[in-house]
């Protein structure tokens, strides 16, 4: 009997194949067979008889998306998200791989906690889950975690995110230390002494609302410090999320000097503005905060000119009761695994700021490169992590219908364009919005 979940031969026919790592962006057909990318444009004779043909006309065929720094909540905050609900949300959003943050309770600072995530996610069996280990014990920013042991257990990167590493001496040491294991250190640039108690971006909206400020210079100064330490140590650094004119400019200049590092941004920081906080909706309380228009423009330019390498979801799920508090008590974050691709299509690709190839690269091969993964491509012979995207599909976000356990998104009720409609992980169909028949 036919079982779509275990079926091994698929032909995605007549779609626009976008594989930036291999410089491919053309109409064609992609064959998935026995877990691998078997061929692009195979001759009819090479297509297995039992291959199921999917009409991909008008659709994008791309490598499965990769997220860096997803919050899964588990262990410790299962009321917000679990490994299971987070992975379901990821595959629904087009993500075949996520690197989950160490933002759990306890934080991922021991071999056992790395193994817990690995085993649990294998059991859940949705997307690939890579584990980010802590830089510091309990993410406290005081002393280094056992980075060597974490790496040996399989930690793909080290980070205290979403908390910044505020202690400059610790950051310098950790950059030096991580380089022994050839693993990247991910830092969220923020100078806490300037943002303490802060709720929103410092500007006119903040001034009128009287909410405690998070000034742009808190990020700029941390970015400057981090880059200087890359230069000093030769360490491998990825800035997880920048959001300001100043950060963008610092990164642009450092890259033009040839400094090796990479930069990410959370998707909301190219399309949602600080003015949304006028609603006092705690779902708009995120970190980095929603910025004002000129900062958004700078981020879009930096995406277009390649200064920003990676678009991350910044997925931070929180239960309703945590978000339904007063604004200063409510935690920072919003869910975004299922809306990030649509935001990229709606606000970057459709208006013409990015072409498909550049946009897809920031969600596939670029994050793969940051993490040292070979995935994120459609190279023949690679495990078949493939997403099918309907770029014209118009849909309305209903937070309750999303697969994440949490529903904290300010996009609830908004209309977006484009959505993933099918996702293969390791050649297996993990998610589909299309009816599949033999």
């Amino acid at each position: 009997m036919f079982n779509a979940e275990t079926h091994t031969s698929w032909l995605l026919d007549n779609g626009q194949i976008v594989d930036p790592a291999n410089g491919i962006d053309r109409i064609g057909r992609l064959l998935i067979h026995e877990g691998k990318i078997a061929a692009i444009d195979p001759s009819d004779g090479d297509i297995p008889n039992d291959a199921i043909r999917i009409d991909a006309h008008g659709m994008i065929v791309a490598p499965g998306l990769i997220d860096i720094g997803t919050d899964l909540g588990e262990p410790g905050r299962e009321e917000d998200e679990t490994i299971s609900s987070g992975c379901l949300s990821a595959v629904a959003g087009g993500y075949s791989s996520i690197a989950c943050s160490a933002n759990t309770e306890p934080a991922i600072d021991t071999v056992a906690s790395v193994q817990f995530i690995q085993q649990k996610s294998l059991k859940v069996n949705q997307c690939r889950v890579h584990v980010i280990g802590c830089v510091s014990k309990d993410r406290r920013g005081e002393e280094m975690a056992e980075i060597g042991a974490l790496v040996e257990a399989g930690a793909i990167a080290l980070s205290d995110m979403p908390r910044p590493i505020e202690n400059t001496a610790l950051l310098k040491r950790a950059l030096e230390y991580c380089s022994m294991f050839d693993r990247p250190l991910l830092d969220h640039p923020e100078l806490l002494s300037l943002t303490r108690h802060g709720v929103m971006h410092e500007d006119m909206t903040q001034l009128v609302l009287g909410l405690p400020p998070m000034p742009a210079e808190a990020e700029d100064l941390a970015t400057a410090r981090d880059l200087r330490l890359v230069e000093a140590t030769g360490g491998r650094l990825h800035l997880t999320n920048i959001s300001t004119i100043g950060s963008v400019e610092l990164c642009r200049r450092a890259k033009s000097r040839g400094l090796p590092f990479s930069v990410g941004l959370n998707s909301v920081n190219f399309h949602l503005m600080d003015q949304l906080l006028r609603s006092f909706d705690s779902n708009c309380k995120v970190n980095p905060p929603l910025r004002s228009a000129e900062h958004l423009d700078a981020c879009v330019s930096a995406l277009a000119d390649g200064t920003i390498d990676v678009i991350a979801t910044g997925h931070r799920p929180f239960s309703v009761e945590k978000k339904m508090q007063e604004l200063d008590a409510a935690p920072f974050g919003m869910i975004s695994l299922e809306t990030t691709l649509s935001a990229v299509i709606s606000f970057l690709i459709r208006p013409g700021y990015l072409n498909w190839s550049d946009a897809i690269s920031k969600m596939t091969c670029n994050p793969a490169k940051v993490l040292g993964l070979t995935s994120g491509t459609l190279s023949v012979g690679q495990p078949a992590d493939v997403v099918l995207i309907d770029p014209g599909l118009k849909w309305k976000v209903d937070a309750e219908e999303l697969l994440s356990k949490a529903s904290n998104t300010p996009l609830n009720g908004h209309e977006l364009f484009g959505r993933s409609v099918m996702l293969f992980v390791d050649g297996k169909l993990k998610f589909t919005r299309l009816a599949v028949a033999v």
Binding site: R196, H197, D203, M204, L207, V208, L209, G210, L211, P212, S279, F280, E321, M324, Q325, E326, L327, D328, A329
Partner: protein, 319 residues
């Protein structure tokens, strides 16, 4: 409009269910509240008589921040119109008590409350309540955001003394950054045509305020000669993460309204303070108690304004 001692009618154009922020009230609506306040003051013979126009209505005071003046003022206002009052206070955060703030409010609403008067240290909290409750919500101060009834009573006090607001130069002096009174005054005064100056140390009064169409000044002495009104705001020691000036002594040196500064002011200058005042910091005792001070009139007007607000929100039949 001369105030009458009749209970004022609620015009059909009035459509507000809540009083959350003066920013979104028109000049006409603000004037209506001021007129209503004056009429109710007369109708209650300055507080010597009680009306029963809100009989059967219940007003809950929900104060999550310390207050004596505003809380008592709302209570008296409700009682003078015949409404019942319920008092609820919590100085600690609602989270530490294990009950969310919304749950607390919903519990009180379930007791059959028609209006909730809320004070809270966090901006937007009354707005959050308005979304979750069915009853009327009156903002009695949400952190540094707004304190609409304070703004209204300040404006009423000026109007009583000068007959009009248009054309006056009003300076708000002190901790503008953390002041809800400043924000409510700015919106109201500007709508009624005043020229507004904000004056204080650069750490508490940024240049960005100019973008609201008001004047930013750091040197109090430079503006004394052209101010019709000085509203001396309390230094909000409790809201400041890092100390914004070296010492109270230095603040007083630069910004305290003293007898000497009075002599360099306009002869008919009005001295106001929303209170509670720090004597010797924002102003010296002789100025606070002097002939130009209308500080106690502000307190009296506070009750009138709060009666007007409760009447306008609750007085319509079937509302």
């Amino acid at each position: 409009m001369p105030a009458s001692s009749e209970v004022p009618a609620i015009p059909s154009t009035w459509h507000h269910r809540h009083l959350l922020d003066l920013e979104f009230f028109s000049a006409d609506e603000i004037s209506l509240i001021l007129d209503t306040a004056e009429s109710l003051h007369l109708a209650t013979r300055g507080g010597r008589e009680k009306l029963d126009i809100l009989r059967g209505r219940t007003v809950a005071n929900l104060f999550f921040e310390n207050s004596t003046r505003t809380r008592n003022s709302f209570s008296l206002a409700a009682k003078r119109l015949g409404a019942d009052t319920v008092e609820f206070s919590s100085s600690g955060s609602s989270v530490s008590k294990g009950e969310t703030f919304i749950d607390t409010a919903k519990t009180i609403e379930a007791m059959g409350v028609d209006a909730v008067v809320v004070r809270h240290a966090t901006p937007g909290t009354p707005h959050l309540l308005a979304r979750h409750l069915d009853c009327c919500v009156v903002n009695a101060g949400d952190g540094p955001h707004e304190h609409p009834t304070q703004g209204l009573l300040d404006i009423l006090t000026i109007r009583q003394q000068r007959g009009t607001i248009a054309g006056l130069t009003v300076a708000l002096v002190g901790d503008i950054a953390h002041s809800r009174t400043a924000r409510s005054n700015i919106w109201g005064l500007k709508k009624l045509g005043a020229h507004v100056i904000v004056c204080g140390p650069a750490t508490l009064v940024s240049r960005n305020w100019e973008k609201l169409g008001i004047e930013v000044v750091h040197n109090l002495d430079s503006i004394l000669h052209r101010c019709d009104v000085l509203n001396l705001l309390r230094i909000q020691f409790e809201r400041q993460a890092t100390r914004p000036f070296p010492s109270v002594h230095e603040y007083a040196l630069l910004y305290a309204m003293t007898k000497e500064r009075m002599q360099r002011s306009k002869p008919d200058i009005l001295i106001m303070a929303p209170g509670p005042i720090n004597r010797g910091v924002e102003l010296t005792p002789d100025v606070a108690d002097g002939p130009h001070s209308v500080i106690l009139k502000q307190v009296t007007n506070g009750i009138s304004i709060r009666m007007a607000v409760l009447w306008l929100l609750l007085g319509r039949k079937g509302s």
